[in-house]
């Protein structure tokens, strides 16, 4: 059994189509904790102790967010800046996160095609994820391949439903240790496992 923590960041969930469904699918799964950051800290006043405590209690951390300017929404960046303290998360004394796993669950408006070298965004999603992943690697964590939902503007309701079901299954499998992490690392996307 693995305890999974979802750090979810969406500043306007009431307007979202896809993330609303995904988050509903993530609720009420055994050993999966949902930490809705914008709901918890509407004034960006992050309770660092609480967040560090949550990280300590969980083995696998999921950063779940829409892709804003090739990165996270502002609050999740604030969270990284404040929670991943020197001397706690990194540095010679900072060992709190060593060995824990990290996965990103990201929705992008642009299609998978738009994130190719010769296309609109000129870089792959993986390239854009380098700074975030490296931050957690510096803390001694192991980064698993991301789960991507792309081209969200054009997704039909039934397609969203399929993603929601996959997400729910993914969380279930992760919490029940259904995957071999070494095996997982061979894939580019976690989507391929589902």
């Amino acid at each position: 059994m693995t305890k999974v923590l979802i750090l979810f960041a969406h500043p306007a969930l009431e307007k979202s189509r896809v993330n609303k469904r995904l988050i509903r699918a993530a609720e009420n799964i055994d050993n999966v904790t949902l930490n809705d950051l914008y709901e918890e800290y509407p004034d960006f006043d992050i309770d660092i102790k609480r967040e560090q405590q949550l990280l300590t209690e969980h083995e696998l951390i999921i950063l779940h967010h829409p892709f804003y300017w090739y990165s996270t929404p502002a609050l999740l960046k604030q969270w990284e800046d404040l929670v991943l303290e020197h001397g706690w998360a990194y540095g010679s004394q900072g060992k709190a996160l060593v060995g824990k796993k990290l996965m990103q669950v990201i929705t992008t408006g642009g299609s998978a095609r738009a994130y190719e070298k010769d296309s609109l965004n000129k870089h792959t999603v993986h390239e854009f994820l380098v700074p975030i992943e490296q931050s957690f690697k510096l803390c001694g964590m192991i980064c698993l391949p991301p789960f991507l939902i792309q081209g969200t503007h054009m997704l039909e309701d039934d397609e969203i439903e399929i993603y929601a079901e996959q997400y729910s299954r993914l969380l279930q499998n992760l919490s029940e240790d259904k995957y071999d992490y070494n095996e997982m690392m061979k894939y580019k996307l976690t989507n391929e496992l589902l």
């Binding site: 004034d43 006043d45 660092i48 800046d81 404040l82 929670v83 991943l84 303290e85 020197h86 001397g87 540095g91 010679s92």
Partner: protein, 625 residues
Amino acid sequence: MQHDSFFFQALVYLTAAVVSVPIAKRIGLGSVLGYLIAGVIIGPAVLGLIGEGGQDIMHFAEFGVVMMLFVIGLELEPSLLWKMRSSILGLGGMQVLVTSILLAVAALIAGVHWQASIALGLTLSLSSTAIVLQTMKEKGLMKTDSGQSSFAVLLFQDIAVIPMLAIFPLLATQAVNSYDDHQTLVGSLPGWAQTLAVLAAVASIVVGGKYLIRPVFRFIAQTRLLEIFTAAALLLVIGTAVLMTQVGLSPALGTFLAGVVLANSEYRHELISDIEPFKGLLLGLFFISVGASINFNLILESPLLIAGLVIMLMVIKGLVLFSLGKFFKIGIDQNLIFSVSLAQSGEFAFVLFSFAAQNSIIETNIINIMVAVVALSMAMTPIVIVINEKLILPRFGTKEKVERESDTIEEDNPVIIAGFDKFGNIVGRLLKANGIGTTVLDFDSDRVEILRKLGLKVYYGDASRHELLHTAGAEKARLIIIAFDNAEKNISLVATVKKHFPHLKILVRAIDRPDAYELLNTGVNEVYRETIDVSLRMGIDAMRMLGVRAYRAHRAAKTFLKHDEKALRELSLMHKDKKEYLSAARQYIAELEELIQSDDTDPELERDAGWDIDSLREEVNKAEQ
């Protein structure tokens, strides 16, 4: 003590009610049947504690019906009445017409002469507004199809009483000599003048209710004497009733009209909660006297005849109602409730029978029997309703959803704001700007007046009375925001809400720290001190003027607030024991000292180490050496 002394009478009636009503309610019979049984027990049939006096009491208690119609009027908005016009005229009109004809024909066949048959038909076609509405309210059926249809029919019947009173003298078999013309002011006037007087009386209620009553109530409200407001409310009802009687109209109809006129006013909720207890007691008295007036000797003399008449009456009325319900497309189970509920004859029958006796339209022995039949049919109603509920309805699987969107009589807003001064009105405006419906109650009549002029739905009233909260829709609301400028009032309202509406989430304004402690100790967690946020904003600006970076000042204030809220909660527990031996001033100083000391020592006040690179710089320098 003499049997007829006022206090002895009161003792008998109150004891009977207090003993039998809760028992009847507990075993599922409803309060109406409880009162009726109480009446039978204390009446001549069993204990004989009240005898001939019962008739006078009945006359007095009929005023309960008048008050009930006033309250019904208040709960009805004219627009709603207009929406219901087709069911009032169609369903109600058809019911009175068809039932009257059938019952008259039955009487004719039984050998009663035709004038009396018509009078009997008309009289018996009316149902009991008091029993039906009381029962429907108790069962929460008022907003269902059956409740709305019943209400429409009853309303038509109440109006129909007036032309009936006008027709009866024409049916008289002997020369009319006993019509109590001298009882009314206008009785001696010629016909056209009487009509004019009636029109003038109705107009005065409408115009007075619209333009005169509100300033008067406002003036009274400004005195802030609750009992005078109650007295004024009673005066309004009684005054209207007397006026109506003087021009020969039904007082019930008059007060109903007055209620409708005042339904849109800001005093609506307060009036309802003022009149409600009187109405309830008088109605109870009315039911008791109906129970007591059942002549058991007469019933025992010819039990089969009377039982047969009761059954026939209820079956005919019920069948007519059921067919009409079907014609007006009421669903089967709602239709069953509707037709079973209205199948009795009502209190107006007693009035009309005595009127018919005065005019010698119906023979006295028939009237005696029919009075017993009517009283029994009223007494049977709660029983028949229970039978219908327990035995018949479960056989029909089509139980409809009771909830219906439209036809709201009371406010259905999710938020009630009690107290709408500078504090509450900001909360209210924020919610309103975001499309959240609020019902506002305030105790300051000037403010209510101004806000209503601005088009806000604000009601005048003392929110700490649970009746007012009830009429403001507290049952359906989700939150209550308590924001009076008065600590005691807020605390007492918290207690009222917790007691009567435990489902409501409470958000309460605290005036100062001790007040906040007290509120926290009542178990409410959402306590808002009225100046803390703005003081901190001022502090932020002061820090910025001294050159502190804006974001740093802002976060310092956030941290301070969090810390202070935590301290508030901790200290509220100590406050409980302390307040007994510390004077208020000493307590305040001690607390301030405590607070400032904890500010000095709390490491929490220095946070956000993630933006603080001291430790990182130290480590890097160490590595270089």
